[in-house]
Amino acid sequence: MPAVVEVAFFAGAIGALGGAIAVIALRNPFYSVLALVVHLVSLAGLFLILYAQFVAAAQIVVYAGAVMVLYVFVAAYVGGAEEPLWEPIPGQRLIAPLLAAALFVELSIAVLGTGLQAIGTDGPTLGEDFGTPARIGELLLERFLIPFEAASLLLLMAAVGAIVLAGRRREASRGG
């Protein structure tokens, strides 16, 4: 059983990392969006290994489904404009990966250097219903009711904001 988990972890990790690198390396925004879908599906597999079934399902349905469709629409609407090779900051393409590598080293030192109890172990054995929709729903409606309602209010505000930002203004279209 552990061998299966390890193979699944490395397959998911390679998919997630390859998708992430493809997102930042491909020059056409449309292909970047498709690479992000690969990344998100691989991550959903990793979430399943971590016993987060509900989060994995939400990741597939909400992220890889709905949000990515929105991205594809906008990428098609705006058009796949390739970025110019002109660099406003000299050496940006050299310095940025160095900064990112430094960030990775720093994060790894911070995470692995702490005296966390669970480091080096597989974690406790979990019950059958860990991470099931029933348990998550109970938590959302009992212990985390106020964050849940705040999140729904935030979604409503974002929807109104998007309409205000992107909606066609009557006066402007009549004038032009």
């Binding site: 925004p29 990741q59 929105l70 705006v78 990966p97 692995l112 985390f144 979604l155």
Partner: protein, 99 residues
């Protein structure tokens, strides 16, 4: 799998997303790179949730997904508004608000 594998993978994905934000200049791709960073955070949250045997981290990951969806909606609305006004879709050309 021990939890540090997930944490190192999460750090690697976060650094990749940060590199993308620094390198790319199309606002659409910068939004995609922000998604990469948020998902790296989600992976770390779920790994900690697994290692402590507590589901609070999973609820937190769901809230992060809600925030990411809001960010996408507002960001894509801004991009569409920029496109409608014939503004260049390049963050380096959009620096009029810079102090």
């Amino acid at each position: 799998m021990a939890v540090e594998w997930y944490l190192v993978l999460s750090a690697l994905l976060f650094a990749t997303g940060a590199a993308g934000v620094l390198i790319r200049r199309s606002p659409l791709v910068i939004l995609l790179c922000l998604e990469l960073m948020l998902n790296a955070g989600n992976l770390a949250l779920l790994a900690f949730s697994r290692s402590t045997g507590n589901e609070d981290g999973q609820v937190f990951a769901l809230v992060v997904m809600v925030v990411a969806a809001c960010e996408v909606v507002v960001g894509l609305g801004l991009i569409v508004a920029m496109y409608r006004r014939r503004l260049p879709l390049n963050v380096d050309d959009m620096r009029e608000l810079r102090g």
